[in-house]
């Protein structure tokens, strides 16, 4: 009899422990704290590591900002950084571990699209609110991922800013030169379509192999069509080959580079290591977010830079510092929703008044909607600037 009683009590105790464990998994941490998990390829190589460092730094700066302003729905925000090595397999394993151990309330995905592709289904399954830097085909689709929001601008968002600039400068005939990468091909096709729709005359649209070592032939082909300006998609060494080619041809043409051009260290570095200040870049302007160009009057951006600098040096441009904005957006959404429930926060984020009110710094206003969770920044969010030295993630 005694043995049976022990068994029943023991069984009940075990059940209660399991139940408590399950409850713990769903609760998302203690009541007075809001847990943020940042995924980033901190130990990846080269540019990926620098970008991840800036993303993580911006998340920490964002946490500091919201905690200073009373937290999220009154809860103190805590942050945990997980190094996913920019590898989808590692990201999936570490995310599952993190959810099992202490389910986060918010996940900031700072890695490339491949990582987002792998982790978004897990986040959806666990009803976790997330913000994403590397967009995928479906990441901004609320039907596929109702609790995910994309922070970066799409190629189309960036291209929409070009026609007003061309009009201002009086460029009517446009030449396009783009890489053979998947992004480059999409960019080449989308740019021609956008410029055509804007009534511009696209006289040439040339592609180069991203492994090629000389672009003079493509440039000659474009020059033969006599455009007013050249739109350029290039990153890394190919950008250097294009600039060398233009200089070799003695071609005096305005070059308008996309955000990939702005991310190449060569143009923000003075000789002998780089080409900043040389004749090679005299006709070059590049597209950046306004926040990536230093402006003494931009108080929100300058405040974010100060917060980031106080934690660690900023290793890449502010174009990847979106995580700061993600936290400001969640704070504003929680204020509107009066809750930290992920569904209520997602509903609040598509209310235009929420992003309007949020103290964001990289993009002034995000335009999430019921049909699209993409950032959709307005053309006015972008600027076309000449290359300059990079300091604290901003062109000076």
């Amino acid at each position: 009899m005694k043995t049976r009683l022990f068994k029943v009590v023991g069984g009940l105790a075990a059940l209660s422990l399991v139940a408590a464990g399950c409850a713990g998994e769903d609760s998302g941490g203690s009541d007075d704290e809001y847990h943020v998990l940042v995924l980033g390829g901190v130990s990846a190589e080269g540019v990926l590591a620098d970008n991840a460092s800036t993303s993580v730094l911006s998340a920490k700066a964002g946490v500091e900002l919201v905690n200073k302003n009373g937290g999220i729905d009154g809860k103190k925000v805590t942050i945990k950084v997980v190094d996913d090595q920019a590898d989808p397999t590692v990201a999936v394993t570490k995310l599952r571990e993190a959810i099992a151990k202490d389910k986060p309330d918010l996940v900031l995905n700072s890695g490339p699209s491949t990582v987002a592709d792998a982790t978004l289904p897990i986040l959806k399954q666990n009803n976790i609110l997330s913000f994403n830097i590397g967009p995928t085909e479906t990441s901004a689709d609320p039907k596929a991922f109702p609790l995910n929001f994309d922070l970066s601008a799409s190629a189309q968002n960036q291209l929409d800013a070009f026609p007003p600039y061309f009009e201002e400068k009086g460029y009517a005939k446009i030449g396009i030169l783009h890489g053979s990468s998947s992004y480059g091909e999409v960019y080449g096709a989308a740019s021609e379509k956008t410029f055509d729709a804007a009534g511009l005359d696209v006289v040439a649209n040339e592609e180069y192999d991203v492994a090629a070592l000389d672009m003079t032939a493509q440039l000659e082909a474009i020059r033969s069509k006599n455009p007013d300006a050249l739109v350029l998609d290039a990153y890394g060494a190919p950008l250097g080959y294009v600039l060398k080619g233009v200089e070799k041809l003695g071609w005096d043409i305005p070059i308008i580079g996309n955000t990939s051009v702005a991310a190449t260290g060569l143009i923000s570095t003075e000789p002998p290591s780089g080409v900043l200040g040389t004749p090679a870049v005299k006709n070059l302007v590049m597209q950046v977010y306004k926040s990536t160009a230093y402006d003494a009057a931009a108080t929100d951006t300058n405040d974010m830079v100060a917060r980031m600098k106080a934690i660690d040096p900023i290793k890449s441009t502010l174009i990847v510092a979106y995580n700061n904005d993600a936290l400001a957006l969640v704070q504003a959404a929680a204020e509107k929703a009066g809750s930290t429930d992920p569904k209520k926060l997602a509903e609040a984020l598509i209310d235009p008044s929420v992003p309007e009110k949020a103290t964001t710094a990289v993009i002034g206003t995000y335009h999430f909607s019921a049909d699209s969770h993409a950032a959709n920044p307005a053309p006015e969010e972008f600027a076309f600037i000449a290359p300059g030295p990079l300091k604290d993630g901003q062109f000076q």
């Binding site: 540019v47 090629a212 070592l213 032939a217 493509q218 082909a221 890394g236 060569l266 290591s273």
Partner: protein
């Protein structure tokens, strides 16, 4: 003419890489797939010497040649010597190339770095076209290397021994040629050459960690067109590949550049399976 200068200079770079492949092939009948990466390391060493240490060009050339020769010697000891089978060496040298790519990225980063050129970086007009001084130097180096190595292989004892090894390794061994030592020395010499030309190649292409991968395939295509083991073949192959790339990019579009090169390769291999400058031999059974 600008297009022709561009094609010729690009072809010269491919030919220089193919010459490095050939030196190793003649001496040991195998390929060093990491040779293009050795050229890349040479470009990085040249960058470091010129930009970071502010050394004179001549000294940088010597240091780059010595440093890359040392890397090649280490590669020979680790990736070639312990591996007996020639087919396995293809895999181990490929591994060495991946290793060198990674080390270069970790050491110098992934952003392109300018390698200053001693004869200036302003384009000049020549025979109706525009060309950078470094491009003229690259063409001259490729021609001089082929002429010089051809002369050396026929007039020097070591050169004759190398040719003997290429013809029949066992017969050369029986004639008293230290085959192992000569093969090692040829490997190191190819490394020294890669280091020496690194400054010239880097001045045109930048020192960048993707350079090795970009050069390796085209260098191999040049070798296949000209014929494995033929030095004059590298010049002809390099010229064909460089010009085909330039003209296809100009008149057909950049997406056809590689297609044009491989079309030439396939046509030549169908007509002359051993390459343009190598005769097909009947196998003795």
């Amino acid at each position: 003419m600008t297009l022709i200068w561009g094609g010729l200079s690009l072809g010269a770079i491919y030919a220089i890489v193919a010459i490095g492949y050939n030196i190793v092939f003649i001496s040991s009948k195998t390929f060093n797939f990491a040779h293009a990466q050795l050229t890349m390391v040479g470009a990085f060493v040249a960058y470091t010497g010129l930009v970071k240490w502010h050394l004179p060009t001549v000294l940088v050339l010597v240091i780059a040649a010595a440093a890359v020769a040392l890397v090649a010697a280490i590669e020979e000891r680790i990736a070639i010597r312990p591996v007996g089978d020639m087919h396995n060496i293809l895999v181990t040298t490929l591994g060495a190339s991946i290793l060198l790519d990674g080390i270069a990225q970790l050491t110098w980063g992934s952003q392109p770095l300018s390698v200053p050129f001693f004869a200036g970086d302003k384009a000049i007009s020549l025979f109706g076209g525009r060309v950078y001084p470094v491009e003229i130097f690259l063409i001259a180096i490729a021609v001089l290397l082929v002429v010089g190595l051809g002369f050396y292989s026929r007039r020097s004892l070591t050169g004759l021994a190398l040719l003997g090894m290429a013809e029949d390794r066992e017969a050369a061994l029986l004639r008293g040629v230290n085959v192992r030592r000569l093969a090692f020395m040829a490997f190191v010499a190819a490394g020294a050459l890669a280091g020496f030309v690194g400054l010239f190649v880097g001045s045109k292409t930048f020192a960048v960690s993707t350079l090795g991968a970009a050069l390796a395939l085209k260098g191999f295509v040049v070798l296949a067109i000209g014929g494995f083991g033929s030095m004059p073949g590298t010049l002809v192959g390099g010229t064909l590949v460089g010009l085909a790339e330039a003209f296809a990019s100009r008149y057909l579009g950049g997406e056809y550049a590689n297609l044009a090169v491989f079309l030439i390769l396939v046509t030549i291999l169908m007509l002359r399976p051993a390459g343009l400058f190598v005769r097909t031999k009947e196998r003795v059974v």
